[in-house]
Symmetry: C2
Subunit: 359 residues, 2 copies
DNA sequence: CTGTTAGCGCATTCAC
DNA sequence: GTGAATGCGCTAACAG
C-alpha cells in the first residue's frame, strides 16, 4: 500500500481533511470532536464549521484502536421465540442506549458449542457480554474469556459471576399458595423442557410449596416443553387420568393456553371443573377465554437490569455484585376460579397500553 | 503516549507477540492467520502452534482500520412487539451468520428522528443497513448516508432503493375473496394504525377487492392500532352497529383475537353470527376458540431475504435489485365459517414444531 | 491554547 | 517464501 494505495472502498473525509481545511492541526480537531475544553472559541467555531461542511464523522475503528474502547456489548441468546425475546431485547436496547452502548446481537444458539463460537466471533469487538443461557449445562460457559465482564440472565452459574434472574422458584410457590387458597387440592403441574433452568425452578417451587402446604399430597407432573402444542397434549392427558386434578399450574402461558384449548375441546369446564394457571403474563393471556391467571414477570426489567449491571461492571471490573433476582407478580383473572368482586368482563390489560405485532 | 504508554486496559497478545515467539515476521503471521498460501508448511506449523499456545485472536478494530471492512450490518427496527419481532430477528440472525456478518441491533425507534440518530451512531461501523420503517413518513430516511448499501423492509420507499416486503395488499385481497366465497356479504375491516405501511396496504386490499367482487358494496371500516385492546373495542363497536356485519377482517391476528374476546363477552356466536379473520398467523392463532383463519406471512423469510439482498449489495454496490415481495398464504381454520371436510379438532399448527416463550 | 509526533494492531506492498 | 517498511484514522502525551 506504499506507492499507490488501492482505491479506498468508502473513501470518506478524515480528520486530516478537516484539519487542513480549517488550517489547524489534527489535535485541535480531535479536541473539538471529543468536547475538550482547551480550544479557543474562534478556533472551535472554525473547526465545527468545516466538520459540518465536510460531513466529517470520526472513523470508529480507528478510534477504537487508539482508545481500546468499542462501546459495544455482545448479547448472546438461545433459540428463543415470541414475546419473551422481544421484550428482553426491548429492555436491553433501551438501557444500552442510555449507557451509550451499542448492541451486537447473536441469537439462535441451540447448544453451548454454538454459543462458544459466537463468543469467539465477538472477541475484541465488545467490552462486555450479556448471556442468557437457560440450559442447565453451563460447563461450556466456562470457556468465556475471563477478561471480559459478563452478566448472566436466568442461568445457573457456578462461581460468583454477576447474574440476574426472574425468581421462577418464588413465583411458582406464590402461584401454588394462591391455588390452594382458592380451595384447590389436587394440583397438577405441566413442566417446561428438561434441562431448562426456569422450567426446573418452577417445578421445584411447585413441589416444595405443595409439600409445605399440603404435607402428604402427591405431586402430579406432566412433561411439556413450553410450547402451546405440548400444553395441549398435557391437557388431554390430565383430563383423561383417573385421578383428574382440580387445578393445573402450567410452567408458562403458552402451555396454559394450549391446555385451555384441549380442555375446551374435551368439554371440560374451566375453571369450574379444572382451574388452569400459567406463568409469564404474555399479552394474550388476558384475551383467551377464560382469561388466564398467571405470574407476571417483567422481562423488560430483566434486560434493562442486566445491562445496568454490565455497564457497572465495565466501569469497575473489580466490583463484586451479588446475584440479584426479580420477583414476579400474581395476576388474578378468571381461569383460577377465584371469586372476583369486580363485575367488568373487559380483559384486564391495564398496563401495556399498546401491543402490536405487525410492523 | 510517547514515553510511558498508559497501562493497556485489556492487554492481550498481539501479532507482534506471536511473531517474536515464533521467530518470524508479523507478515508471515498475518499470512497464516488469513489463510494465504505462500508460507512454508514448517513455518506455518510453528506459527499455528504459537497462536494456539498464546491464544492469539486478531484485534478486530485494527483489522478493520487496515482493511476498511467491519463485517457488520446494522439493523434498524421500530418499536416492535411480540412474535413479529422475534421471528424477524431469527431470520436475520441466521442469514447473517451464513454470510459471516455480525448484527448490530438498534430497535425501539418511535420516530424518524430517533432512527436518524441510530444511523449516525452506526456510521462507520457497519457495511450495510437493514431497515424496517413501517411509518408512512419516510422522508427522514433520506438522510441515510447514500454511500452505505441499505435494504428496506415493509416500507414505502421513494426512489429505487432495494426493498423487500410482505405482500399485505395481495394477502388482504385473497382473504376477502375467501370470505366472499364463504358466503359472507357484509364484511367489515379493522385497520392497523394510521401511518403504518402494512396497515395501509391491508386496508387498500380490503377496499379494492370489495369493490371488485361486490360492486356497490359499502366498505365498513373501524380504526384499530394492531393491539388486542383495540381489536376488543372494535369488536364491541361492530356488534353494536345497526348494520351489523356478518364477517370481520382484522388487520392482524392480535386485533382479531381481541375482537373474538369482545364478541364472546357479548354472546355473539363466531363464526355463526359473525365470522372473524386475521393476518399474520401468530403461533397462538390456532389455539384460540374458535381457531383463527388468517394469512400466514413468513417473517423469518422476510428477515432472511433482506440479509441475502444486503449481502449481495455489499458485494456489488452497483447491482440494481428490483423490489421483491413475499406472498402470504391463506390458513383456513374455524373462525371464518368455511365448511371443513376434516374432523379433527386438534389445533392445526403443523409447521412450527416448537413454540416457546420462557427462556 | 496549539502543533508535532508516536504509537494502537494489522494488512500489504516491495525487495530480497 | 520471507521480512522490513508504510499507512489505515485517531488519541494523547509532550513541547512550545
Amino acid at each position: 500500500m506504499a506507492r499507490r494505495p488501492l482505491a479506498r472502498p468508502h473513501a470518506s473525509t478524515t480528520i486530516n481533511d478537516v484539519a487542513r481545511e480549517a488550517q489547524v492541526s489534527v489535535a485541535s480537531v480531535s479536541r473539538v470532536v471529543n468536547g475538550h475544553a482547551n480550544v479557543l472559541p474562534e478556533t472551535r467555531r472554525r473547526i465545527t464549521e468545516v466538520i459540518d461542511r465536510l460531513r466529517y464523522v470520526p472513523h470508529t475503528a480507528a478510534r477504537s484502536l487508539s482508545t481500546r474502547r468499542t462501546h459495544m456489548i455482545g448479547v448472546l441468546l438461545p433459540d428463543l421465540h415470541g414475546e419473551f425475546f422481544s421484550e428482553l431485547i426491548r429492555g436491553i436496547d433501551a438501557a444500552a442506549r442510555e449507557h451509550g452502548l451499542q448492541v451486537l446481537l447473536s441469537s439462535s444458539h441451540g447448544d453451548a458449542a454454538e454459543m462458544a463460537a459466537a463468543v469467539r466471533a465477538m472477541h475484541g469487538r465488545v467490552e462486555g457480554l450479556l448471556v442468557l443461557a437457560p440450559q442447565l449445562d453451563t460447563t461450556a460457559l466456562r470457556e468465556l474469556p475471563p477478561a471480559v465482564p459478563a452478566v448472566f440472565m436466568n442461568s445457573r452459574v457456578a462461581g460468583r459471576t454477576p447474574s440476574l434472574a426472574i425468581d421462577s422458584y418464588g413465583g411458582a410457590r406464590a402461584m401454588l399458595r394462591h391455588l390452594i387458597a382458592c380451595g384447590h387440592r389436587a394440583i397438577a403441574h405441566i413442566t417446561g423442557p428438561t434441562n431448562n433452568f426456569d422450567a426446573h425452578e418452577r417445578e421445584r417451587g411447585y413441589r416444595d410449596e405443595l409439600a409445605a402446604s399440603q404435607p402428604g399430597a402427591r405431586p402430579q407432573v406432566v412433561r411439556g416443553d413450553f410450547s402451546e402444542t405440548s400444553g395441549y397434549a398435557a391437557g388431554r392427558a390430565l383430563a383423561a387420568q383417573a385421578a383428574r386434578p382440580d387445578a393445573v399450574f402450567a410452567g408458562n402461558d403458552a402451555m396454559a393456553i394450549g391446555c385451555l384449548a384441549a380442555l375446551d375441546a374435551l368439554g371440560v369446564a374451566v375453571p369450574g371443573e379444572i382451574a388452569v394457571t400459567g406463568f409469564d403474563d404474555i399479552p394474550l393471556a388476558g384475551f383467551v377465554r377464560p382469561a388466564l391467571t398467571t405470574m407476571r414477570a417483567s422481562i423488560v426489567e430483566l434486560g434493562r437490569g442486566a445491562v445496568d449491571r454490565l455497564a457497572g461492571l465495565i466501569a469497575q471490573p473489580d466490583a463484586r455484585l451479588a446475584a440479584a433476582t426479580l420477583s414476579p407478580e400474581l395476576v388474578i383473572r378468571e381461569s383460577c376460579g377465584a371469586k372476583r368482586s369486580g363485575r367488568s368482563r373487559a380483559p384486564s390489560s391495564s398496563r401495556r397500553p399498546r401491543r402490536r405485532r405487525s410492523p
